[in-house]
């Protein structure tokens, strides 16, 4: 297991290298002069020239790339051109915000998606199956930004049940410890704040969860149906086992690997979808951090932001891979 993890990590190295290169090249290809953008419309020519020089933007691209790589090796993600802060220092709260949102969305997606899939597979062709699958189909077809806007309009503006945006009530800000406010409020014993944070999470997390939920439900259903046709399920039933346990014990465990794979892949969708959701719900997460950085040509932030998200994604998929072996004894990693 350890060896396998090590091996997989080693295999990641070329991928990570390639990623840095691709990101670097794309970012450099973005037209527009960051110096000008930082200084804004009102800036003078001299100011722009001076800034360009001090940012090293006058160097040829490969020098910039090697400088960048060199910095990466020392764990330095560069400094935000805009704020002048080290990216590594300022990125964490954004990352935490996205991870909290993504995590809650994933939990919603998994809990509802997996169970809907199971029940649909179990009672195949029942009305539940049909309606769940139709909903799931609509779910994968719905543009989440549209759904998010509609939700915001209905539940916040019209009904006033939920807050429209951000992570908490600014009048009573949560004191950040881990920057995962669900955790922080609990550590601080502020149950009222915890509820407030939950309320803020509901709309964006549901919007974000829709597509993965639908995909997971569909995937779970089809693998479950396949698994439930397999011989060992027949064996379990031939023993006289209850259908519930046959489904939730024997079938589910076997269906988990493809479902897990989908879940791993969906995190990518989730991290990408975060840009849209975070924009709509003013969620101070990494998606918006990157998006804002794109507008301000904040190269180090765009680069590092994309890389970190991609890295996270890669890591989650690695984790999923490793989980396989925990679940399936047949997968022996050495």
């Amino acid at each position: 297991m350890l060896r396998y993890t090590g091996k997989r990590l080693l295999q990641l190295i070329p991928v990570l290298f390639g990623m840095t290169f691709i990101v670097f090249m794309i970012v450099r290809a973005i037209p527009g002069d960051p110096a000008k953008i930082i200084l804004g419309q009102q800036a003078s020519k001299e100011a722009v020239a001076a800034l360009r020089e001090s940012l090293g933007l006058d160097n040829p691209w490969y020098i910039q790339y090697f400088n960048y790589l060199g910095q990466l090796f020392t764990g330095n993600l560069g400094e935000s051109i805009k704020t002048g802060e080290a990216v590594s220092a300022e990125i964490y709260p954004y990352l935490a915000a996205t991870m909290e949102l993504g995590f809650v969305a994933m939990v919603i997606a998994i809990v509802i998606g997996v169970n809907a899939g199971i029940v649909s597979a179990w009672f195949q062709n029942s009305w539940f199956d049909y309606s769940a699958m139709i909903l799931a189909l609509i779910g994968v077809s719905i543009p989440i930004f549209w759904l998010g806007l509609l939700g915001q309009w209905a539940f916040s503006v019209e009904l006033g049940w939920l807050p429209t945006s951000n992570r908490f009530d600014p009048r009573d800000p949560v004191e950040a410890i881990t920057h995962f406010y669900l955790i922080d409020t609990l550590i601080e014993g502020r149950f009222d704040q915890f509820l407030d944070v939950v309320k803020h999470l509901i709309l964006p997390a549901t919007a974000l969860a829709t597509i993965p939920m639908a995909i997971i439900a569909r995937m779970t259903r089809s693998t479950m149906i396949e698994v439930m046709r397999s011989d060992f399920i027949r064996t379990a039933r031939a023993k006289g086992q209850k259908m519930f346990w046959v489904v939730y014990k024997h079938s589910l465990k076997n269906a988990v690997i493809p479902v897990l794979t989908v879940i791993g892949l969906q995190t990518g969708l989730l991290l990408g979808g975060a840009i849209l959701t975070e924009t709509i719900f003013s969620w101070p997460g990494i998606g918006r951090y990157i998006y804002d950085a794109i507008s301000s040509r904040d190269y180090p932030v765009i680069q590092s932001g994309i890389l970190i998200v991609a890295f996270l994604f890669v890591m989650i998929n690695l984790l999923v891979d490793l989980l396989y072996s925990v679940i399936d004894p047949r997968i022996k990693y050495d």
Partner: protein, 296 residues
């Protein structure tokens, strides 16, 4: 010809020669889901083709006096801030969304097939390089990568199309690679080799045609995704540009009228959803028909 055991014919049903493809089409036609999907898709394709004749107004017939009118018999879907007929714009938008969907997927399939076949058939370092390249691209959440690419290329519908195509390449590439690999191991390929067939001929005559159906299935589903992605890019201002009636862009434009004039954003959103749903249904139907193993 003595001594050869003849095959005695059962009074078998006079079945005609039916290729698996025809068989699949029959299954496809029988599936309600698939039929509904096909109807929706066909409907939007017709809109795309005949839109200019159906739509009561052109794309950009502004009449600032008629702005933000709610749906009425004159303007079924109401009007937008320029006093343009939303119904007409939604109809005319079908062309753009389908264009992006089909063109980007076609592009990814072409590039993906070439790379996938190279990797799958030639193996070794070619495979290593191409597969790594796919890995790298796949390591990025796709929308994020698409956004980055469009930002670099400059926002436009064409660039959005291009970005979506690039982002999808590894999906097809991998699919085709794995198809090639698995078909290579099929016994009928061994049989072809045993007969003395050349590699290239095996590739074109056996491997490729047998990879087609998963590509068609995946392609249909990818069109659905591509349409949503294009709309998302449009929504972020990175896709289609004014006055193109692209649905995502219409949503973005309508966003500030959410409270005053909700119809401006309800209809384009519905249009996206319906089209995407159509492709998804059709894709599902195709998968069930062509890939019976996946059928449930």
């Amino acid at each position: 010809m003595t001594g050869i055991t003849p095959e005695i014919q059962l009074p078998e049903e006079k079945s005609k020669a039916r290729s698996p493809f025809q068989d699949s089409l029959r299954t496809f036609r029988k599936s309600k889901v698939a039929v509904v999907g096909t109807i929706i898709v066909a409907f939007f394709i017709l809109l795309a083709i005949f839109g200019p004749w159906i739509a009561p107004q052109g794309i950009n017939e502004q009449n600032l006096k008629l702005r933000l009118l709610p749906p009425s018999s004159a303007h079924w879907f109401g009007t937008d801030v320029f006093g343009r007929d939303i119904f007409s714009r939604v109809i005319l938008g079908a062309r753009l969304s389908l264009l992006v969907g089909f063109a980007s997927v076609a592009l990814s399939i072409i590039i993906g097939s070439i790379l996938g076949i190279l990797a799958g058939y030639y193996g070794r370092w070619v495979d290593t390089i191409i597969s790594r390249f796919f890995d790298i691209l796949l390591a990025f959440p796709s929308i994020l990568l698409a956004i980055a690419i469009v930002t670099a290329l400059g926002p436009s519908l064409f660039n959005a199309l291009l970005a979506i195509a690039i982002v999808n390449v590894p999906n097809f590439g991998r699919l085709i690679r794995s198809k090639v690999l698995s078909i290579k191991e099929e016994e009928f390929i061994t049989a072809a080799r045993a007969v003395g067939m050349r590699d290239t001929r095996i590739l074109w005559g056996h491997v490729l045609p047998n990879s087609m159906t998963p590509i068609i299935v995946q392609g249909t589903l990818a069109i659905a995704t591509a349409i949503i992605e294009a709309a998302a890019l449009g929504f972020l201002g990175l896709g289609a540009q004014a006055p193109q009636p692209e649905w995502g862009k219409m949503l973005a434009d309508a966003r500030i009228y959410l409270i005053n004039a909700p119809w401006t954003m309800i209809f384009p959103g519905l249009a996206i959803m319906l089209t995407v749903l159509g492709f998804n249904l059709m894709g599902d139907g195709l998968r069930d028909a062509f890939d019976p193993k996946m059928k449930n």
